[in-house]
């Protein structure tokens, strides 16, 4: 992590990337053309700035790359940050993109005779086992989590468990699977995250990028 080494910005693949790219363009960061090639196998990309590279990983891995200092900057939803609770991360900036929420949902027919106050133990399918356990523990309920990596909404219908904790944006996926959102755990937006040691040791390089991206996020919100 010498002062003259390149900074690495980690971006999440998928849904949020489409919102991230225009924001970075506003901040004057443009990745090399290969970044947009649909079939590319490349994972690390140069940008129009010699001192800044971009990597593309799964959203959960963005936080891990940045926490361990493999990347100095990253963009990740606060759902991911809440799940890992890394102490080596700063999240100085809410980018206001990738807006959704993380919620508890259960089948519509269960709601009629379900009283959450009486729960002492629930079994929940989720991508977020730690966050889920913490959320329920805070209200005195033990959550037994079944960790899934996708298609969480299928779990209740197939009898894996009765409740799920997952991201909800429009609620269309829940409805299509006969589920109803019963509790909101948190609102989710994408955050700019920074490695703690990098912000201290390479402050002169890292902080101008934070300011540029902050200005771009403000401009995007005003537009």
């Amino acid at each position: 992590m010498a002062a003259n080494e390149k900074l690495v910005l980690a971006l999440p693949q998928g849904r949020i990337l489409a919102e991230v790219v225009p924001l970075l363009a506003r901040a004057g960061i443009v990745p090399e053309p290969e970044f947009d090639a649909p079939a590319t196998r490349q994972l690390r990309f140069a940008t129009n700035h010699a001192g800044l590279d971009i990597i593309r990983t799964r959203s959960f891995d963005v936080a891990t790359f940045v926490a361990f200092g493999a990347a100095q900057l990253g963009i990740a939803g606060n759902d991911v940050l809440m799940e890992f609770n890394f102490t080596e991360l700063y999240a100085p900036l809410d980018l206001g993109i990738g807006r959704c929420r993380i919620s508890v949902a259960e089948p519509a027919d269960l709601i009629a005779h379900d009283d959450p106050v009486r729960w002492s133990h629930v079994r929940i399918a989720t991508k977020y086992p730690k966050l889920t356990r913490r959320y329920f523990a805070a209200r005195g309920v033990q959550a037994e989590c079944v960790k899934l990596n996708g298609a969480v909404e299928l779990a209740p219908a197939l009898g894996l468990c009765r409740r799920i904790v997952d991201l909800v944006s429009t609620g269309a996926t829940l409805r299509a699977n006969g589920l109803v959102e019963i509790e909101r755990i948190a609102e989710v937006t994408s955050r700019l995250i920074v490695n703690r040691a990098a912000l201290k040791v390479r402050h002169e390089q890292v902080s101008p990028w934070i300011e540029r991206i902050a200005a771009a996020a403000r401009a995007a919100r005003a537009a």
């Binding site: 992590m1 002062a3 200092g69 080596e88 999240a91 201290k200 402050h203």
Partner: protein, 385 residues
């Protein structure tokens, strides 16, 4: 029956340290202790295990979640394995050494055990090496701790050192001046710890604007001090900020080249600290090398009568990651039958001698097999490669 390979499995976070790292680690620790000793710090050695209620009393409570406990069959009381040595040194200073003249300078080196590793340090057992300077509230003492840490790290060959100063009471003082309590507002504390400016502006209430300014002020020491000077801080917070400035001036005077940053709101890793704190970073090392700062020694034994103290702790595992690989010691193979006096002569010249116990046909091959760099041929060491 456990198979031999399985028997080699260690519990998570524990490991064997092998040659040459084990010797290197010991040498680094000794060099650090020598630097401390040369500046008047005297070594103490507390036990590995203490009674839980004394180890974890008062400010020690912050270490509670990290601490292994066991039942003492003799006294039938709970004992705790140390997870941090600073509080043990403070206990010694304020009990058995309470009549020793102040300021009291003590140093220590030892192993600690924690129930869980963290993100960057999966190790549950690691070494701590450090000093405590007890019985003085002087700014010169804060500067001495920072400068001694820098000198000791330079002496063992750490390059690219960067020291981050912070003042854990600054943000609470700002919040208190607006009639609230940061200690009771965990969401705000968390937002400050994450440096989440947006969240701080929502949760900060009347203190929000000033907290945001503190967040923005973090950076190289000179620019942070300039930014803090422009803020209309409440009196208690202003005193904390002035103190940081005073210590920075002392450090600058003694070591103008030292890389210093200031983060006015940093609170992580300062479980029991009460005044100026610092964290040691180095280029190419992903976590901190150590941390230190001001605390109250002995508060738990005689509440209200604790002594002002400062000090720092270096973590040997992180430190070894910051250092270049150790130079291999020159090893000289002595064929079987070499006289003892000859062996002693070469050792006297700085060689590690490896004695052949049985005659071998090819001494040079045997030397290479035993990882010796040289073999004694006639009366001269000869390189084996």
């Amino acid at each position: 029956m456990t198979e031999p390979a399985q028997r080699a499995l260690l519990p998570a976070g524990l490991r064997d340290i092998l040659p040459p790292e084990a010797e290197f680690e010991a040498a680094v620790v000794e060099r650090l202790m020598a630097t401390f000793g040369a500046q008047g710090y005297e070594r103490v050695k507390p036990p590995l295990v203490e009674f839980e209620d004394s180890l974890l009393a008062g400010s020690g409570a912050a270490m509670g979640p990290h601490t292994f406990r066991l039942m003492d069959p003799v006294s039938q009381r709970m004992m705790a394995v140390r997870a941090d040595m600073t509080l043990q040194i403070a206990r010694i200073a304020t009990s058995r050494l309470r009549n020793a003249p102040r300021p009291l300078r003590l140093s220590y080196a030892g192993q600690v055990l924690r129930v869980k590793g963290d993100d960057l340090r999966p190790e549950r057992q690691f070494g701590q090496v450090g000093v405590e300077l007890i019985g003085t509230a002087a700014a010169a003492a804060d500067a001495e701790a920072v400068l001694l840490a820098a000198a000791a790290l330079a002496a063992v060959g750490v390059s690219g050192l960067s020291i981050d100063l912070s003042s854990p009471r600054l943000a609470p003082a700002v919040v208190a001046a607006h009639g609230a309590s940061l200690g009771e507002n965990k969401p705000l504390r968390d937002a400050l710890d994450r440096k989440d400016a947006a969240e701080v502006s929502v949760l900060g209430g009347p203190a929000a604007a000033m907290l945001a300014a503190l967040l923005r002020a973090a950076g190289p020491a000179a620019s942070t001090l300039a930014a803090l000077a422009k803020l209309a801080l409440p009196p208690e917070a202003a005193a904390e900020a002035r103190r940081v400035g005073e210590v920075v001036a002392l450090i600058r005077g003694a070591a103008p080249e030292l890389r210093l940053t200031i983060d006015p709101v940093e609170n992580r890793n300062f479980e029991y600290h009460t005044g100026l704190c610092f964290t040691l970073f180095a280029d190419r090392v992903r976590g901190m090398l150590g941390r230190g700062g001001r605390y109250v020694a002995g508060e738990s034994h005689s509440p209200g009568r604790g002594e002002p103290a400062t000090g720092f702790t270096l973590f040997t595992d992180s430190l070894l990651r910051a250092l270049p690989a150790p130079a291999q010691r020159r090893r000289l193979y002595l064929p079987s039958g070499t006289p003892a006096a000859t062996a002693a002569k070469w050792r006297g010249e700085g060689w590690a001698t490896v004695a052949g116990l049985d005659p071998v046909a090819d001494a040079r091959a045997e030397a290479r097999r035993l990882a010796c760099s040289h073999v004694l041929t006639g009366d001269r060491p000869q390189a084996v490669e």
